[in-house]
Amino acid sequence: MEGIGIWGVPLAIFAGAIRVSTPFIFVSLGESITERSGRINLGLEGTLVFGAMTAYAIAVMSGSPWLGVLAAMATGAVFGLIHGWICKFPKVNDIAIGIAMMQFGLGLAFFLGKPFIQPVAPHLPSIALGGWSDLPQIQSALNINVLFIIGALLAVALWWAFKNTRIGLILRVVGDSSDAARAMGLNPDTVRLLATAVGGSLAAVGGAYLSLYYPGSWNEGISSGQGLMAVALVIFARWNPIGCFLAALLFGGAGALGPALQSVGVTQGYYLFYAAPYVLTLVILVATSSPTRSLGGAPGTLSITK
């Protein structure tokens, strides 16, 4: 970090926030759609890892990273459909099914992904916004991936759509009361099935970002719980897509703390900084939960807030 000295730390955190947050953005936006419909899909960690594997494998075989992203979306939707279909049966617990789908997705991804650990896949493109600066650190920090920009736009679009479109209204009605939805002639199970499928396909895009951009390789340790933390993040963001986007940035920054301190020579106890995003999530959950009332803005039928 020669030239900018200690300023390298906030810069690295800023760059890290943008780089690390993208999977959080996609998973949490997907989960916000699913949770708005009244279901919780805890299996997105498995979907994310399977998406990462699929995207990498397809990118290796076809040479096109975007084809990889599309394939990942398709598999994510399938995982969502399985979750949504199983959960429509009575006495089936959506949280438990999520845990099971997570193990299933991880196992299947490791199984099918074995041959793709060695080959190198083409990366997703990024846009260099740092051309005005001479400092290589700033240039690399402002090298922003296309998926991050898509994620930001998607957050705004979803925020608008939840409020102003018919689909957004249907989603909210189903999420708040199954009976009210039935009275409107809607089938809550179908709406939730589709919402879980869309949520799954977005989570898989988060996975594709991991394997095709940052860190940009496929291996069995590709995810460090992003799919799970995103579920907590959605609660923190009060099911608001723009809140999800901002929370994801915050988490990304927290995740970049450890490596950033390490890069300026802090070696003591930097393992503790790796826990920063998890501690932050937990603190936020504790601060925003209450034993007596359900959370503000929570969909009425969501089992996690009961």
Partner: protein, 376 residues
């Protein structure tokens, strides 16, 4: 949130009404969970067979190898039992809170920190006092650490309304970071170069093997823990109160049951079992606390508990079965050329199918005495 526990009768059979028909009803209700669980396992194996056929291998060969690798010889049986030992304890970490309707999935954190605490407790004592004192001290240290860790999830749940599933899982990641901090920093043995570890336990301080078997005492500890837990749930007022609170929190509160103390007590006890698993891993297998503690026992324990439907006695055979499947992984890899994740795919498939089959409870007339009367 609550899990459907499907324990239709809280007290299985009242002694005074042990007539033929009530025994029959009791049998029918027990048979329901056995039949549905077995059916689910068969359906899961069938789905898995299709998958194996699709990837171009013979499922028959695979199941034969699984049997050989898991239970085919005395050597493989001992291997399976060794692998089952930690699963018994980590499954209890899921099953006990489940009785209260809580889904705790962060047992891995208690395993890891329990192991570190046990190793740290042994450090100043080895060489000074005899192993007969050091080993119980290690066990207590591991149990207290694990109990505090998962008990904290219970405290957050009851007093702050924080979802225990997510909290316990986040805490598992924090626990692994703490473990890395301790074994790379304050507790690191300078002699451990490639794999940072705490100072190794001297050989005579290790928890040995059960006489006549190449299986460590962890198996006995795990089985005893399961039996004690079963008695606690089925035969004490504490366990009875927990089952009421798991069924309906409001009703339990109106009855004047101490729901808060039950939640904290059960989560702490659950965590102390997982912490004990970490201690056994240190004292019987690794000889020191190192990154191998995070081997996923906490996560496999979730599957074991759900397969056993949170019944502590059923955990024993299920853990041995999964230990056997795990033990056969190496053989499957060598003989069939399938990746080691094959076992994970099988576990995941079984897990999903088992949970799906929850929906069949109460649907079959033969298992449901209430429906017999209605039609008669």
């Amino acid at each position: 949130m609550t899990i459907e526990m499907n324990t239709p009768t809280l007290s299985p059979v009242s002694v005074d009404a042990r007539s033929f028909s009530s025994v029959l009803e009791w049998l029918a209700r027990r048979a329901e969970s056995v039949a549905i669980s077995l059916g689910a396992i068969l359906a899961g194996l069938a789905l898995f067979s299709i998958f194996i056929t699709v990837v171009g291998k013979s499922p028959i060969d695979l199941f034969k190898l699984m049997y050989t690798g898991g239970f085919g010889s005395w050597f493989s049986i001992q291997n399976s039992l060794s692998r089952a030992a930690p699963l018994l304890l980590t499954a209890l970490c899921v099953a006990l809170p489940a009785r209260l309707g809580l889904v705790i999935i962060g047992g891995e954190g208690a395993v890891v920190l329990g192991g570190v605490a046990a190793a740290a407790a042994a450090l100043p004592l080895t060489g000074l006092v005899s192993p007969i004192i050091v080993l119980p001290v290690m066990a207590i240290a591991g149990m207290i650490m694990g109990g505090l860790w998962i008990g904290m999830a219970g405290v957050l749940r009851h007093y702050r309304g924080v979802n225990e599933t997510i909290a316990s899982l986040l805490m598992a990641y924090i626990a692994i970071a703490l473990m890395n901090h301790f074994i790379e920093g304050p507790l690191r043995d300078p002699a451990s170069l490639n794999k940072p570890s705490t100072a190794p336990l001297p050989a005579d301080y290790m928890l040995g093997s059960i006489p006549g078997m190449d299986v460590n005492w962890g198996l006995v500890i795990g089985i005893v823990a399961c039996i004690v837990s079963w008695i606690l749930i089925e035969a004490t007022s504490f366990g009875f109160a927990a089952r009421i609170a798991g069924g309906n929190v409001r009703a339990a509160q109106i009855q004047g049951l101490p729901v808060g103390r039950l939640i904290v007590g059960f989560t702490a006890l659950a965590g102390s079992f997982a912490g004990l698993a970490g201690m056994v891993e240190v004292a019987a297998v690794q000889g020191s606390a190192n990154a191998s503690l995070a081997a996923g026992y906490g996560y496999t324990g979730i599957l074991v508990a759900f397969l056993a439907r949170h019944n502590p006695l059923a955990i024993i055979p299920v853990a041995i079965l999964l230990g056997g499947i795990d033990a056969s992984g190496g053989l499957i890899q060598r003989r069939l050329g399938l990746p080691d994740a094959t076992v994970l795919v099988l576990q995941g498939t079984l897990f999903v199918v088992i949970l799906f089959c929850e929906t069949f409870y109460g649907r079959f007339k033969i298992f449901n005495p209430d429906l017999w009367k209605r039609s008669a």
